[in-house]
Assembly symmetry: C2
Homo-oligomer: 324 residues x 2
């Protein structure tokens, strides 16, 4: 039975409600069993890819964003995100008739700023040399006291929203292992509660950039660890300083292990996805496949589901990765 | 009622059998309704993409290849193809326990040669300065008189196999227009017979490279036309000299129009797919979207299904297209 001290609201009844109501507003994940013979041969195992690249706004974050915003009465939403969560919040706000402001560094890629704007979000550019994202969000909330601050991972409604990806996976087939990317822990904790909710025996293994391995260190030490600063891994969706508190509580007890992935394997995995699976994958989305490249022996003979979490990558960076 | 003088075997009963038996050996197409708000706004219409990029071997050709090879008793197969049909025939042969030889120009991209080999096909490289593909196929058939020559489009079993993509489309929703790429006519004729079989009122519009516009000229003149030589369009899947005879008979009576697409719009459509739909698409696969770019006014207010036929593109070429 699910019970978390950090979030007593995260009950089986709540998950059941989310699983019943959310799916009509989101896209089911694309399950690709045995996406390429080369992959199966290489790992001597039975791989299925669960791809969120065709989810609304191009990543799993829309599951969380829509679930979160559909459960609050506020008309105004504020969040800080230079990536997929910002786009997801912007589009969910648009669909739900809310207005939203996304705080982004002025150095953000133009394509990311335009994406938030194309979904109707107001982009608030800040010079991070002078003001931090958290400070600017606090300022905005002071100016707009009726606004709601959307958290990207440390919120039970976010985790429950993400757990619907676990529903898609566990209700489709039986797997020995599900590999999930780990940044703030929003997705991987969602997959764990989904696994526990359906009482599957599947091992959940995390895939985290070696350059920002706070979660792996936390799991090893039994205490929540932080990175000294935002890690400069190519997997920009996992540039988090530490796991959220609720995410840590769930991961600490529910995750079998975390594989630390060097950036060169992430790049190799993006290329592999292009060539052998025809998936356009962002570096963070390729973390899980890269984890399999890093420790192939762990997966031999297993039925493995590898989560590809998103596709939002700058065309110039992607071209550069392909040309390498 | 279906009746074609060129292929009396192409009956409703035969199509019914193929639609019943083939789907368990192939992947259903990926239907993406309203893949991006930008697309809908641009065309003032309701666009669905039907993507064959996750079909086995990365293109719709596998539907034809498997249907063709599963209906013949021969153990040996010979074909000439530098592209998607070769890969599809190689993989279908492997699955059906046959051996296959694919004749390819020695100048073919290494990635294409390796793809055929990875599916178990024997690649027969020829110097097209000294021997034509047809001559080499004839030589091989002389050496192996018990071998079967697989035709890429001018065969009723190929067309019926491709018609199962039409089944996926017409059985999923109602469309005013389906846009299909036109090379040898194998796919578009399959979509037409599917439309007629289910008695839908949908218009089928072809999308053909302007640089190799034999089919468009044929439809306008009412007589089968040829290109003087293999057209050097970037859409390498449509580098055909003319439609097949049976394909022409079907297209002549069943296709509403063919839009001639300049190469620059094909390139733009590949980039659009990358950025707004997260689909990795080969140039030939982007022909249909490029046709919408070429004549947007034709599609205003309509429910349109755009077929994205395949994803097999050289990484270097793709990187070059993105970087432009």
């Amino acid at each position: 039975m699910l019970m978390y001290t950090t979030a007593p609201e995260l009950t089986e009844a709540y998950i059941s409600t989310v699983w019943e109501t959310l799916p009509r507003f989101i896209r089911s994940t694309l399950l690709l069993p045995c996406p390429c013979p080369a992959l199966a041969q290489r790992f001597h195992c039975d791989v299925t890819i669960a791809s969120e690249t065709f989810q609304y706004t191009g990543s799993f974050k829309f599951r969380a964003a829509y679930n979160l915003l559909s459960s609050i009465p506020h008309q105004r939403v504020v969040t800080a995100s230079s990536g997929n969560f910002g786009q997801a919040i912007a589009y969910a706000s648009q669909l739900l008739g809310k207005t939203c402001t996304v705080v982004m560094p002025s150095t953000s890629a133009r394509v990311k700023i335009e994406a938030v704007q194309s979904y109707g979000g107001v982009v608030d550019l800040i010079d991070v040399q002078h003001v931090s994202r958290a400070e600017r969000v606090a300022q905005l909330l002071h100016e707009q006291p009726d606004a709601f601050q959307a958290q990207a991972y440390d919120d039970y409604r976010v985790i429950a929203g993400n757990s619907t990806l676990g529903k898609d996976i566990f209700c489709s087939d039986t797997f020995d292992i599900v590999v999930a990317p780990v940044g703030g822990g929003g997705l991987s904790s969602g997959i764990i509660i989904a696994r526990d909710y359906v009482q599957a025996q599947t091992e959940i293994i995390g895939a985290e950039p070696l350059l920002g391995n706070d979660a792996a260190r936390s799991l090893k030490s039994g205490h929540l660890q932080q990175n000294a600063q935002e890690p400069q891994t190519i997997a920009d969706g996992a540039r988090t300083v530490s796991l959220g508190k609720l995410n840590w509580e769930i991961i600490q007890h529910g995750m079998a292990d975390i594989i630390e992935v060097p950036d060169d394997l992430i790049i190799q995995a993006v290329r592999h996805c292009f060539r052998y699976t025809n998936l356009k994958v962002e570096p963070t989305g390729a973390l899980t496949l890269a984890a399999m490249f890093a420790q192939p022996e762990r997966f031999a003979g297993k039925r493995v589901c590898c989560i590809v979490s998103g596709a939002n990558v700058d065309p110039a960076l992607y071209a550069h990765i392909l040309a390498q």
